[in-house]
């Protein structure tokens, strides 16, 4: 029985130079970068493309270290679920080591990481619109 996973929400491409990797993918594959986001003070730089329901997230520092060639890898993916608390409970009943659902960076969303048993894949669950307005620590 399903845990209510509806689709792959996003796939992470982790890079030591996320801006350069996003640009290269855009040029090589013809995909459009639709959003760019940086977190001041952290050096984190994210760029996003979307193909149908799946977001491709290029994540990492926006600037490479001096003398370092751009290098990227597939850094995991996130499954969207309709009810994250129910999904976490079901997975735990099935013996899966999954963390508690907590507020995600995305406004109104909650996320839970699966900590083991994914066969080498960093994997998490996300539910959008999981928190009522005014109760959103992520700051929507």
């Amino acid at each position: 029985m399903s845990i209510g996973a509806t689709h792959i929400d996003h796939i992470v491409v982790a890079s030591n130079n996320s801006a350069a990797t996003a640009k290269l993918f855009s040029e090589n594959l013809g995909i459009e970068i639709k959003r760019v986001m940086s977190r001041p003070g952290t050096g984190a730089h994210m760029e996003f493309a979307k193909l149908q329901e799946i977001v491709l997230e290029f994540a990492g520092p926006g600037q490479p270290k001096e003398g370092e060639e751009p290098k990227a890898r597939l850094g995991g993916f996130v499954l969207a679920v309709g009810d994250i608390d129910a999904a976490v409970a079901t997975l735990r009943k099935r013996g899966v080591d999954v963390g508690d659902a907590h507020p995600a960076v995305q406004p109104g969303a909650k996320i839970a990481g699966i900590r083991a048993g994914t066969h080498g894949v960093p994997l998490a669950l996300i539910q959008y619109n999981a928190m009522p307005a005014g109760n959103d620590p992520a700051g929507s």
Binding site: I3, A5, I11, A20, N28, Q52, L56, F77, H119, V121
Partner: protein, 137 residues
């Protein structure tokens, strides 16, 4: 033109063991499960939304998948983009000077497929696929 992400490829030691998580715990349905002899892999596709997760278990030691498993262990191996015309995508990649693994499309689990060399994409292995008319073969 790339339409969507067809699947993400995950290399595993044992597809049967991985299915205990992806099929039994997550509840994802298996849509295909076959050994592709000439590629030395057992491939299992699990449906999720409009895409799939592809589990790849090497069946021989002399394949790229087996070498990936030996050197890096289990994990994400490639990302596959779907196109209506894999031949045109391959020609376009060649014209851009992108290094290729396959000089022409070949039959794979996802239909007619080809791979771009990871060296051309900062180390990420990219697959293009055009599913066969009429579904699985």
């Amino acid at each position: 033109m790339l339409k969507k992400i067809h699947h993400v490829g995950v290399v595993v030691q044992s597809a049967d063991e991985a299915l205990k998580f992806y099929r039994d715990a997550l509840g994802l349905p298996v849509t295909d499960d076959r050994v592709i002899e000439d590629q030395g892999v057992r491939g299992v596709l699990l449906k999720i939304g409009n895409s799939e997760i592809e589990l790849l278990e090497p069946t021989r030691d002399d394949t790229g998948v087996a070498k990936f498993l030996a050197s890096r262990g289990e994990g994400m191996h490639h990302i596959c983009f779907e196109s209506d015309d894999v031949h045109a995508e391959l020609d376009a990649a060649r014209a851009k000077g992108i290094q290729l693994i396959d000089e022409k499309p070949r039959l794979g689990l996802a239909g007619m497929i080809c791979f771009l060399h990871p060296k051309s994409n900062h180390g990420v292995l990219i697959e293009y696929a055009t599913p066969l008319a009429g579904g699985r073969h």
